[in-house]
């Protein structure tokens, strides 16, 4: 079974962290990730850009594109895709094709990406 581990935190607080704090958190996670990779258990890892870069595609008769992150608390994060897109427009097109007639998709640029060891 593959498990997806999602990171949540207060963005404003992260941006107020001293540099050493950020470095130590990343260093700790890097050690854990390397351990998992050595065991052949690590898939793709991504750090997302701030929510200010996000757009949201909401399903409706004509999919509705909104500025800003997805922030509905009654709906839960159910999964994610990582897609290579040349521009934001391309990414929005992909979201428009994916969204169908229910739910919402947040388009968030990826800040850093590690492909992992290629899980099978």
């Amino acid at each position: 079974m593959f498990y997806c581990i999602l990171c949540y935190n207060l963005e404003t607080e992260l941006q107020a962290w001293p540099r050493e704090k950020e470095a130590s958190v990343l260093a700790h996670r890097e050690i854990v990730a390397q351990g998992l990779a050595a065991q052949g258990r690590l898939g793709p890892v991504a750090r997302l850009m701030p929510t200010t870069t996000a757009m949201t595609m909401r399903a409706s008769r004509a999919p509705l594109l909104l500025d800003g992150p997805f922030a509905e608390t009654k709906e839960q994060l159910l999964g994610f895709y990582i897609v290579d897109c040349r521009t934001l427009d391309d990414a929005i097109d992909v979201a428009r094709n994916l969204v169908g007639d229910t739910g919402a998709l947040e388009v968030r640029p990826v800040a850093t990406f590690y492909p992992g060891v290629g899980l099978q």
């Binding site: 207060l10 963005e11 404003t12 607080e13 941006q15 107020a16 962290w17 001293p18 704090k21 130590s24 850009m49 701030p50 929510t51 200010t52 870069t53 996000a54 757009m55 909104l66 500025d67 800003g68 992150p69 521009t87 934001l88 427009d89 640029p109 800040a111 850093t112």
Partner: protein, 431 residues
């Protein structure tokens, strides 16, 4: 991270929203600030024991509001009874806090808090100092050192500014769309000034003061998070990120200015650039170009060029020509002239400078650019005169040193026309 360090980060992240909400409750900035201070003291005692609250801003607002009410009752002769329960039950009810608070108005609360710092009667530097003190929560000492003045002088300045602010009336009702847009414009301008104060210091030894730039970026991101659909705020945030991304490359080891063309682009922060480029794209989708967006687009063209010779100068020229229409100013035309010199040569650029001579007579960069264009044309004597004027107007040692190095280069040019002709050949050979 130690307790006090994570509490520090949580408190400083929550501060704008918390102080802004307390200001709405009490309609008095001193009371709001005191209430917030009190809440912070209680957080220092409570959080290490009970763990961090899920929503630190809501916790601080709730505790701050109750402690201020408590304090008012204590002071009031008519009502000596103290309702201890209001504050003593805080730890048990934390989970319900967020729902009990009126959070719907917090976007406008924070905007109001920023807006009251922008009193038009106050000089720009005082508006900035006030915002740093009230919104960012920097200490007077920190602000004083950023502005290179004594702590006492800065304390006096802030007190005076606060007094001016208290006299001005600010509407506490939720603003209408027009008023909200005006407030946003005013606040964006203040954040831009704050960044510029850090980016191109207006005096003192330090040419770049990074903490001011970082604080400006934090405020721009805050504003964008509150108003995610505003193209100009996207543009402002993108512009600041793009300029700041070059910070490490802008000065050399002996603090001399390194021009864009000579910067080591490996030192540019690609993370900040990537974030900014997305914001530029987001803003462009709205198709309502404003001054910040256009300036961000120009900075984005530079950021996309891996090498200076890959810079798309005609795109820059085009963006400046739109900016000239949206926000006509001699400085914009001066900047456009630099782009024109790359596209159509220094002669065409020099012609654009002629009408600017009077309005920009006291502007350091005008004489610097003029000198550089004349130097490129091989007109040494005129170039020397322009550079001399620039030196006289330099505000920091770095600016003066940069012009002096140009004068030195003039001395070593042996004939009257070599550089320009060589450049012309190079242009032809370029694919």
């Amino acid at each position: 991270m130690t307790d006090s360090a994570w509490i520090g980060a949580a408190v400083s992240a929550a501060r704008p929203q918390a102080v802004a909400a307390l200001l709405r409750y009490f309609r008095d900035l001193d009371v709001a600030e005191e209430a917030f201070q009190e809440a912070c003291l209680r957080a220092l005692k409570s959080w290490p024991i009970n763990g961090p609250p899920r929503d630190p801003a809501a916790w601080l607002i709730f505790v701050g509001r109750n402690s201020a009410l408590d304090e008012m009752r204590r002071r009031s002769k008519n009502d000596p009874l103290v309702d201890e329960e209001l504050v003593s039950d805080v730890d048990d009810t934390e989970a319900a806090l967020a729902e009990r608070l009126d959070t719907a108005a917090y976007h406008d609360d924070v905007l109001r808090l920023l807006f009251i710092c922008c009193q038009p009667d106050l000089p720009a530097t005082q508006q900035i100092a006030l915002a740093l003190r009230i919104v960012s929560g920097l200490s007077v000492k920190e602000i004083a050192s950023a502005f290179l003045v004594t702590e006492a002088a800065m304390a006096q300045r802030i007190t005076r500014a606060k007094r001016a602010m208290a006299d001005a009336s600010v509407a506490f009702e939720t603003p209408g769309p027009v008023e909200r847009a005006q407030r946003l414009t005013t606040v964006a301008a203040m954040i831009y000034l704050l960044f510029n104060e850090g980016y191109s210091a207006s005096g003192g030894d330090a040419h770049v003061r990074l903490p001011l730039c970082e604080e400006a970026i934090r405020l721009a991101r805050l504003l964008l998070r509150l108003f995610p659909g505003e193209g100009e705020i996207m543009g402002l945030a993108a512009l600041l990120l793009l300029q700041h991304a070059r910070a490490a490359a802008r000065l050399d080891e002996s603090s001399n200015i390194v021009l864009l063309a000579d910067q080591d682009r490996q030192l540019w922060d690609q993370g900040l650039i990537a974030e900014a480029l997305v914001l530029v794209e987001k803003a462009q989708r709205l198709q309502q170009s404003g001054p910040y967006q256009l300036q961000a687009e120009i900075a984005a063209v530079h950021a996309r060029a891996a090498r200076p010779e890959q810079t798309d100068w005609s795109a820059i020229d085009q963006a400046y020509s739109v900016l000239e229409r949206v926000q006509p100013s001699p400085v914009v035309t001066l900047n456009r002239a630099v782009a024109v010199s790359k596209v159509r040569g220094p002669g065409a650029a020099l012609e654009m400078l002629e009408p600017l001579a009077a309005p920009l007579a006291a502007y350091f960069y005008f004489h610097g650019v003029k000198g550089a264009l004349l130097k490129e044309l091989g007109r040494k004597t005129e170039a020397r005169a322009a550079f001399s004027q620039a030196i006289a107007l330099a505000r920091t040692p770095a600016e003066a040193a940069h012009i002096r190095s140009n004068l030195d280069q003039l001395e070593s040019m042996d004939s009257e026309h070599p550089q320009h002709e060589e450049q012309a050949h190079r242009k032809e050979r370029r694919p």
